[in-house]
């Protein structure tokens, strides 16, 4: 439901409710006023009758009509709505309305009494003379009073009901006007194309919209960053694929033209090597691009490091054999849990494999590559040349490969390691081993999930 409709509906429900409450109060007030007015009149009527009776001991005929006429003068009320009765000391009916109702004689009662006579409610005022020789009663139908209260209330209610449509119209207009910034924002966003992620200006927006706009602009910035990363990655990837592709093309040309069997065999071996490199590069690219979107990977399983080490070392064994590198792993003292954490074992295997692969690839032949676990860290080290400061600074830059390398690499391994480590809350640092030589990678708990 639109905000506008919602607001109007609330108004339509709330206004009558408020009005009804106001009506109740005003009916009560009106009834009070009317009662007060009529009661005074009845007291005066009774007093008048008694005074008349006292002045003329036998003036029954003249005493009975005058007050009744006075009371009947108020609007369209009937003469029968009023009644007067007089009794003597013995309780004998002396005078009163002959055609109206007979008010009951209640000796000893003084003041107002609500009676039910001939099926109708009456309000009757009894007055006893001081000497006790007369008893006077003046009554009025309750209906008379209700009618007046109703008339009073109705005359108040009518303008309210007449005004309601006007109020709704005014409200609709006001809501429309108040919601104009929302419509403008909608139009602005609808008119944009998919690549337009400029922030929406917040300065002129109403304060209610500002948090929303702020959140939206924040989202825009994040989307823009993600898009830029994607674009850069695609461009880098396309660029990086050119060289291995060039190798394949050129080597394929050589194979086709090869004159001798030996030449062909050599070219084919090179072609296979080129394919391997290409394969590696594409695999790494895919791994990294999957990792980029792996924000929601389940990180809850307990990590069993021995299995991970076994798997990762197994994957690096052939390379290590080819280069004459020995692999070793050092565990903490028995009974101590190595690097306890939860995470995704498959991802951690990829991470360790990349670390081992780099360590093996760039170590001098005949040396040792060591994986070392302690309770709070994981280290991988080799005996290669220490990294120069500018190399350290460019670690993790995608597709960056230090100069003068004989071994082919994708230039993505460190990026992959860093990404997986970040997903697990591990911090990665590169440096020389103790004693200065070689390269050591240290993974430490920053905020790992224990």
């Amino acid at each position: 439901m639109s905000l506008q409709r919602r607001l109007l509906l609330y108004l339509l429900i709330c206004a009558p409710l408020v009005w009804a409450a106001a009506l109740l109060v005003s009916v009560d007030r009106a009834r009070h006023q009317v009662n007060e007015l009529f009661d005074t009149q009845m007291i005066r009527l009774a007093g008048q009758v008694q005074a008349t009776l006292s002045s003329t001991q036998n003036g029954a005929t003249s005493a009975k009509q005058a007050p009744a006429e006075g009371a009947a003068g108020s609007g369209d009320s009937d003469v029968g709505d009023l009644a007067v009765a007089v009794w003597d000391a013995r309780g004998q009916w002396v005078t009163g309305d002959r055609e109206g109702v007979r008010l009951p004689h209640r000796p000893g009662v003084a003041g107002f009494v609500n009676e039910r006579l001939d099926g109708e409610d009456w309000r009757v005022y009894y007055q006893q003379s001081a000497a006790g020789e007369w008893s006077v009663a003046a009554g009025q139908k309750a209906y008379e009073r209700d009618e007046l209260v109703f008339d009073l209330t109705a005359s108040q209610l009518t303008p309210w009901l007449l005004v309601l449509p006007l109020l709704l119209a005014a409200m609709a207009w006001a809501v429309r006007r108040a919601l104009a910034p929302v419509r403008e924002l909608t139009a602005e966003l609808q008119g944009r194309d998919a690549h337009d992620l400029r922030p929406v200006p917040e300065s002129h927006a109403p304060s209610e919209l500002k948090p929303l706009l702020g959140a939206m602009n924040g989202l825009f910035t994040r989307i823009e960053d993600a898009l830029a990363r994607e674009r850069r990655f695609t461009a880098d990837a396309a660029h990086e694929l050119r060289t291995p592709l060039a190798v394949l093309r050129a080597q394929w040309d050589v194979v086709r033209r090869a004159g001798s069997q030996a030449e062909r065999a050599q070219a084919e071996a090179r072609l296979a090597l080129g394919l391997d490199n290409m394969d590696r590069l594409v695999t790494q690219m895919l791994a990294l691009s999957r990792l980029e979107s792996a924000v929601n990977a389940p990180m809850t399983a307990d990590v069993h490091w021995p299995a991970i080490v076994e798997q990762a070392m197994g994957d690096c064994l052939s390379l290590a054999e080819r280069r004459g590198i020995e692999l070793a792993c050092e565990w903490p003292q028995p009974g101590r849990h190595p690097l306890p954490m939860t995470g995704d074992e498959q991802l951690l295997t990829v991470m360790l494999r990349n670390l081992l692969d780099n360590a093996v690839r760039y170590a001098p032949p005949g040396t040792l590559v060591m994986v070392r676990f302690t309770e709070d860290r994981l280290e991988v080290e080799n005996a290669g040349d220490p990294l120069a400061p500018d190399q350290l600074a460019r670690m993790g830059e995608r597709f960056h490969r230090p100069a003068g390398q004989q071994e082919g690499g994708s230039g993505l391994g460190v990026s992959i390691v860093q990404r997986i480590a970040a997903l697990h809350g591990l911090s990665v640092s590169f440096g020389p081993r103790e004693g200065g030589g070689g390269v050591r990678v240290v993974l430490r708990f920053a905020a790992a999930r224990r």
């Binding site: 050119r242 060289t243 592709l245 190798v247 050129a250 040309d253 004159g259 070219a267 100069a403």
Partner: protein
């Protein structure tokens, strides 16, 4: 033709060198600018294939240095950088051609031929010298209308001579055009053997000997 390849990816360098050797060129391949620089100073190359992303100094920097030194060797840039501004910068820095990886050996060879044609001031793709016709694309040699079969080295020698028809070329220069640095040192008289074969297969007058200096292309009219 003797060609220098500067390419840091060893697999690609190997493939390019092997491919160009197959089409009859003499090729050296180096992985960085400094060694290429030394090679360029040591031998007379007919063309240079230059990668840009080199360790220890960008290819463009080296190209600028060589051009500043007055080197006129035709340079073909072969790189993964495909931006228009990068092409423009490469050509402006003194490159004669700019190719983006990947390419086929055929195209690379054709581009090199075209570059060479321009650098030697020829407009036709078939080189003509008197009664001798040589097509560097097909390596076909015709003498007075008849086809002549030549070996790779003989072709390279003929090409080297045809490149500068008016000049006397030293033995060292010719030898440089025939052998790269990968193979064994040539026998001291192998050049004479190849020249002897050229004279026998084409015409004795095709190569003139200039005593004490070297060799030059003959008139190309043939003995009458």
């Amino acid at each position: 033709m003797r060609i220098l390849i500067v390419e840091d990816d060893p697999l690609l360098g190997d493939a390019l060198a092997a491919g160009l050797r197959q089409v009859g060129h003499v090729v050296d391949c180096f992985g960085d600018g400094a060694r290429a620089d030394a090679a360029l100073a040591a031998a007379a190359y007919d063309a240079l294939v230059l990668d840009l992303g080199l360790p220890g100094g960008d290819g463009m920097v080296w190209l600028g240095r060589w051009r500043a030194r007055g080197s006129t060797v035709p340079v073909l840039i072969l790189t993964a950088r495909d931006g228009v501004e990068q092409r423009v910068a490469g050509l402006d820095a003194g490159a004669d051609d700019y190719l983006v990886k990947p390419i086929t050996i055929d195209e690379l060879a054709a581009r090199l031929r075209a570059m060479l044609r321009r650098s030697s001031g020829r407009a036709q793709s078939v080189w003509q010298h008197g009664a001798l016709e040589y097509d560097p694309a097909t390596k076909a040699v015709r003498w007075k209308g008849g086809t002549v079969e030549l070996t790779g080295r003989e072709l390279a020698l003929l090409e080297a001579l045809l490149m500068y028809p008016q000049r006397v070329l030293s033995r060292t220069h010719l030898q440089e055009k025939l052998y790269d640095w990968s193979g064994a040192e040539p026998e001291s008289n192998t050049l004479e053997v190849h020249i002897h074969h050229l004279r026998r297969k084409i015409d004795p007058s095709i190569v003139r000997t200039v005593r004490g200096v070297g060799y030059a292309l003959g008139t190309g009219e043939g003995a009458t």
